[in-house]
Amino acid sequence: MERRTFLNISSLAFGSMLVPVFGRAIAAEELLNPMPVAAKKILADTALNAATKAGASYCDVRIGRYLNQYVITRDLNVENVVNTESAGIGVRVVCNGAYGFAATNDMTPDGVAGAARQAVAIAKANAKLQSEPVQLAPVKGVGEVSWATPVKKDWRTVPIKEKAELLIAANKAGMESGANFMNSMLFQVNQQKYFASTDGSYIDQDLQRLWAPVTATAVDKATGKFRSRQGLSAPVGMGYEYLDGRKEDKIKAAGGVATLYTKSYDIVEDARAAGRDAKRKLTAKTVVPGKYDLMLSPEHLFLTIHESVGHPTELDRVLGYEANYAGTSFATLDKWQSKKFNYGSPLVNIVADKVTPGSLGNVGYDDEGVKCKRWDIIKDGILVNYQATRDQAHIIGEKESHGCSYADSWSNVQFQRMPNVSLQAGKKKLTPDEMVKDIKKGIYIVGDGSFSIDQQRYNFQFGGQLFYEINNGKIGQMLEDVAYQSNTQEFWNACTAICDERDWRMGGSFFDGKGQPPQISIVSHGSSTARFNGINVINTARKIG
């Protein structure tokens, strides 16, 4: 059965969040000792040679050491500090035109060579059923190179005590301002990834990421009502400096309804606001369902971009490789080939990249040894490209891969995963406050909430964190029970205004699931505040019992 290891973060405030834990708990002091590069090269060469000798026409080896630290707090208590490590080697081969993959945590020469031979044996078994031989776009070997996430403060060197005190201070602030319960967490990731292939590349990368989610919950026992407000931070490909909360990185939402954050995050300030907002939600006005002009902040819109543009333009979905799990896509090849498919209004320009500093997708090379870059997906509203790996590039007439290959662990095979996919800022000068002035009947949504979309990415429904009514150019009262339902193409064609680059910032997902066995990926999405006209809003309040 699909048994996975989960860290159960049992609070309902987190939506019964189960965090997948790869690997095993380790001591914190182990985190700072990477395996020597020379030793990794010897192991990689052992696997490459064993695979080639067994008959592989291509082989790549990924030696991974994945280190995570989770600090979990509840109210004024530190509930858990978990350090996990997972180390091992994954070998992928092409033999007789088919893929084979094997992985082991036995990092001896015998263990590694055994995995390589196992991968070749699996490829040979699969070749019997193969109808489309694997065709890899060429990659020039880069020799021995390295790349690291640029960080100012390495989370591995910050004492646990300091991290725990920061989270407890945030929880205390939330409880003082109106929350009955607070949860906050700090997810910190370090991936030490070594890639080698028969193309002649030996790539050593050291990646860091961080996320600090907060949830404030307010309860009115007399009415039996409870409401939550989550933090407005973004997960980032940065070091601990993201938690510095610098003054210059704070901006006001339209109408001053919230403080928002750009390159660093003030968790204590946001937790205080979350406590106050959670309490206000208990008595907020329930929404009248109907058509509204929606004004969506980047803290919200990133998730709509992710689901309605990021996933449908994954080429493996378009081709049917994900048909059994994540699904296929409405953005079929004929629509792309026509060069006329109006994905969105002419204002909509969507770019993919793995090079934006501070983003979750930012790496030097992908998990096939391809150097990362930036390219257009939607230009002036028209679908112009997809996201592709080496074995897909030829299908869309590309001479090289887009660099979209990723595996979440040494023990899982790499496949096509989403790069950063972002809505470009509007070209005309426009601030969120100026955008409000032009809206007669609208709703301003800040922060991401519930999300669901069909398997071909047509029909979606999104909630949010903060909802404010907009009446005749002015922001009015806080609303509750809001969700909007739309169709991807109709929605993006209803985009009538996008704020300029001063308002552009990224949100992101730390746990994006895809594939079988399921793999988790990380991805950022940037945008400025954008307006969508005449979108259907439903009221989600229900009574039970």
Partner: protein, 445 residues
Amino acid sequence: MTILTQEQTKRICDRVLSLSKADECSVTVGGSRQGNIRFARNAVSTAGLAEDTNIAVQVAFGKRQGVATINEFDDKSLEKVVRRAEDLARLAPENPEFMPAVAKQNYRASETFSKKTAAIDPEFRAQSAAYAIEACRKNKLVAAGFFSDSTSFTSVANSNGVYGHQDETGLDFTCTVRTEDGRGSGWVKRSATDAARFDPREAADVAIEKALRSVDAKALEPGRYTVILEPAATSELLGYMLGGFDARQTDEGRSFLSKKGGASRLGDKLFDSQVNIWADPWNPDVPVLPWDTQNLIARERMDIIKDGKVNALNYSQFWAKKKGVRPTATPGNIIMAGTDKTTADLIASTKKGILVTRTWYIRMVDPQSVLLTGLTRDGTFYIENGKIKYPIKNFRFNESPVTMLNNIEEIGKPVIIGGDEVPFQMSIPPMKVRDFNFTSLSDAV
């Protein structure tokens, strides 16, 4: 080395416990071998095998805890891992909610291991994919699917005399069959502990039939309909709801099981009287480990919903102590009582309704009412006068499983279904439910 015997793991556990100088010590030794094959576009796309083993040691001095792990098994390494856990515990902050290691437990073994499943090799996996691929090629259909199997062991022990060892096996098979023009789609899922109970031909045939029958779907107006929900249509909804049967959340007032004035709905009749749901580690269809892997408390049969009443909530050790009740082991499976009626019987007794093969992308909209949204997928059909009349376009729903379990008209025969996004093995019947709330149409096939 991946799969250790009980004798080997017992020696490791005893050695670790004897080395510890802490107030208490717990040890877990585990390992697994997981194989899979994935196919799409009528060809194998990826296949693999992954092996891993580890030892985790948790110690405590007073209310300070430390955890360390290692994947080497010699005496020197065992000593190292114990000392490292002890060093970490000395540095850790005191946890005001710390609970001591559980007293000696009686773990009655459950039948979680099958030799036939443990013997699965790459050829077996390739054959499981081959039938669907070949049958689809012949019928001008396109198959995509995934077969995975795992063999694993777990040993647990603590300084209070707790000891348990058990081997587990399992397999899951899912297959989506689509017509070449993309106008029809069918799906099937099969899960088993014992490979002898898995027939890839029978499974693929179900998906093929649904794909062929779902072509040229008509659009019905969204609204409230009588639905026949196959087990894959309700398993995730039930999983979401039962994941919230937590005493602490309820007592704190932040659960759908909390009531006005601060009381809990424990004991209230919240569902139709036909609803009986329980957990049972020894159930032969969905056996699970006889202990909770987090707190090592022995699992027992737990009647969660009895004759429509909320019968039991999960109590963590901390909350149980605070409330003066026994702590519970978190269930590993969900079993819902049914009848002998087949899905076909439920269809035959339906005047007007909709048959739903499965639901997908389910998310919580409002935890206050457990309002969930999601969509139907891979086989949605209109029923009239006891017969499937024609395929219909997929719907988005906004519905609470609490409401769904109140509106039950008829229940069928349970089938085994592994959890997708929820961590339960399940045995769930098809159900006929009135007034199920579809809120919009989807163009997705």
